[in-house]
């Protein structure tokens, strides 16, 4: 059964092979487990990139396959990060506090410990009480479950309201942006209970691993991210390969027709929306411990728009395209914004990439959309001689999210 799935989808095997090689390569070049050719901070960058690839897969499922242009998936990503961040911060602070109180003459009561943790964590927002949303912060299993549950519930409630009223196309995209904006504005408030614009920090320090160097921890997270990406790719390929994939691609191109076949379109959209929100949550939960800090700016509406840009540049409607797009654009972006890219002196003006990179990205997005809608993934088609069908410009279905002529394969 499994074999036939792999056989029918050779790209899965190729992808997993490439990912495994890449992981091995990085492992043997890292400081902790290899020759030390690449720095720990670069290992973290690569690990974070893998998480971005994972959320790109989620985006491709929801947009490329199901036609829902969600501009809100980074909200789910951020929520996943906050959920794991709460435990990381609580537990680490608890250890520090217990250590420092251990020297006190009278052993501290449990309540004193909790109060001390509270004033440590919430001092920056002028408070010391734990808000109710931190109720489970002391439990790793519960916070891990919340990584799935919180994004999943938000997606369920939002999706149920939006899909049930048959909001589609641009209006749905705007609604998802509004959701993201509302969430980030809420998180910015000091009394949101998540430390306002300070966000959660120190997340790179895994509690109880003080003796273990960051170089090794970074490799652990890199492995975990690679594993999550591999499993995510496998899951997504399986979901889109069978009849379920047929139905959601049908919804992308012509949802009315799917309805008249007796499929509840709203149910399917909700299913995909919630599932991808959970994948995004997992990606975020792996990303932020590597980033070390999460704050509300990460959830800003623009982040979700970038996500759509990555998937478009990689080529939507094919999972490896989304991964390539996310990896390529985010790595190039790190390079440009990290100050490594040399400035271009034009005589009268010096192009500083830190400032101009956004412009370049925007321009590439426009160019790809106009001239190469298959994106980077389209290069593989070029290679294999797969062309687009000749349809005189007609899309493959009447809906707004439907596959366009130039995105399709003959």
């Amino acid at each position: 059964m499994k074999n036939s799935f792999i056989l029918r989808n050779p790209s899965v095997l190729i992808f997993l092979g490439v990912l495994a090689l890449f992981t091995l390569g990085v492992t043997f070049m890292s400081e902790a487990t290899g020759a030390g050719l690449i720095s720990t901070s670069f290992v973290k960058t690569l690990g974070k990139t893998l998480c971005l690839c994972l959320i790109a897969i989620a985006m491709d499922l929801v947009w490329g396959y199901c036609g829902i242009l969600s501009l809100g998936h980074f909200a789910f990503f951020g929520l996943g990060g906050y959920m794991i961040g709460m435990w990381l911060m609580y537990e680490r602070t608890r250890q520090i506090v217990t250590l420092s109180m251990a020297n006190a003459e009278i052993p501290p009561t449990d309540q004193e410990v909790v109060d001390a943790i509270g004033s440590q964590i919430f001092g920056v927002v002028g408070s010391s009480d734990f808000p109710p949303i931190w109720s489970f912060a002391d439990s790793l299993p519960i916070q891990l479950a919340l990584v799935l549950i919180v994004p999943g519930m938000l997606a369920l409630i939002f999706g149920w309201l939006a899909f049930r009223s048959r909001v589609t196309g641009v209006y749905l995209s705007i609604l998802t942006q509004a959701m993201t904006l509302a969430l980030s504005l809420y998180l910015f408030q000091n009394d949101s209970g998540l430390r306002g614009n300070n966000g959660l920090s120190g997340l790179q320090n895994l509690p109880g691993t003080d003796a273990i160097p960051q170089s090794l921890i970074s490799i652990w997270f890199f492995w975990a991210s690679a594993l999550a990406l591999g499993l995510g790719f496998l899951l997504a390929s399986w979901v889109v390969s069978g009849k379920f994939g047929s139905v959601i691609r049908g919804i992308r191109d012509d949802e009315q027709r799917v309805r008249f076949l007796g499929y509840s379109v709203e149910g399917y959209k909700l299913f995909i929306f919630v599932m991808t929100a959970m994948i995004a949550g997992i990606a975020g939960a792996l990303y932020y411990p590597q980033a070390g800090i999460i704050n509300p700016a990460e959830v800003a509406p623009i982040a979700s728009i970038y996500l759509a840009v990555w998937v478009a540049i990689g080529g939507r409607g094919r999972l490896y395209g989304a991964v390539i797009g996310a990896a390529f654009v985010s790595l190039v972006s790190t390079w440009f914004t990290g100050g490594q890219a040399p400035d271009v002196p034009l005589g009268f003006y010096v192009v500083k990439w830190v400032d101009w990179w956004q412009v370049l990205l925007g321009l590439s997005f426009v160019l790809v959309t106009l001239f190469a809608p298959k994106g980077i993934g389209g290069l593989f088609d070029l290679f294999e001689g797969i062309r687009s069908p000749r349809r005189h410009g007609a899309a493959l279905g009447p809906d707004q999210g439907s596959l366009q002529e130039k995105e399709a394969q003959e």
Partner: protein, 246 residues
């Protein structure tokens, strides 16, 4: 013969324009019916009402032995209850193969979870082959349906309709874009299908309707102008005035 679908006193207006006006209609469990009428008579809108796409302003639409109202049901639920529909313009999933189109239509559990774990059984694959043979697309099963000719898409849609195993088939202008022999084949399929279920065919082509050899309902300005055999209605003075005489 017991009634499968009963539409009574239904009216629909779009911005004050009455597209359907106090229309009543009945069809039995296994009956073939042709609907004719000039452009804009409301034939497509009539099908929209039955399939839940358009909600009428007044009237009743009752379905099946239990006289269940279709008006409160969603399009998908109506389809699952056994109403299949072919659109005026052929609508198939152009980015997917003929095989996948048919497989999606074949009657099976439609809920997301069971579809996710769906494995086509021997019976399903056999049914796909059988349908493909019936609609003359056996050697096209692995082509993307967007590449098919207009006539072939019409066929595919008819095939998908049969795959759903509906109790009522609503077919909007099935013969458009077909050659003469294809039209004859279409008539055969529809007549055959009507032996076990109700079939409503909207068609402009009188020759086609004649070959169906069934009761005819003439629609005009959203209501029934005449009903009976083709010969009966074509001799009707009103019908000649509004439809045939032009």
């Amino acid at each position: 013969m017991s009634t499968l679908l009963e539409v009574s006193g239904v009216s629909v207006s779009f911005d004050g324009f009455k597209a359907i006006n106090n229309l009543s209609f009945q069809i039995g469990q296994a009956e073939l019916r042709a609907i004719i009428g000039p452009n804009g008579a409301g034939k497509t809108t009539f099908m929209d009402i039955i399939t839940g796409k358009t909600r009428p302003n007044e009237g009743r639409v009752l379905w099946g032995e239990k006289s269940q109202s279709l008006l409160k049901m969603s399009e998908a639920a109506i389809a699952r209850a056994g109403v299949g529909r072919k659109f005026q313009r052929p609508t198939v999933f152009e980015d997917q193969t003929v095989h996948d189109n048919l497989l999606m239509a074949i009657k099976n559990d439609r809920s997301p979870f069971s579809v996710l774990f769906f494995k086509p059984k021997f019976r399903d694959l056999g049914r796909v082959e059988e349908l493909a043979a019936e609609i003359g697309l056996s050697d096209q099963l692995h082509r993307k349906s967007g590449e098919l000719s207009h006539g072939q898409k019409q066929w595919l849609e008819i095939g998908m309709l049969l795959a759903q195993e509906p109790r009522l088939l609503l077919v909007d202008e099935p013969a458009a874009g077909m050659t003469l022999s294809e039209r004859e084949h279409t008539t055969d399929i529809l007549v055959e299908a009507a032996k076990t279920r109700a079939v409503v065919v909207v068609e402009h082509d009188m020759e086609f309707v004649r070959r169906l050899n069934c009761k005819v309902t003439v629609l005009h300005e959203g209501s029934v102008l005449a009903e009976g055999s083709l010969d009966h209605v074509t001799q009707n003075k009103d019908v000649i005035d509004v439809y045939l005489g032009r």
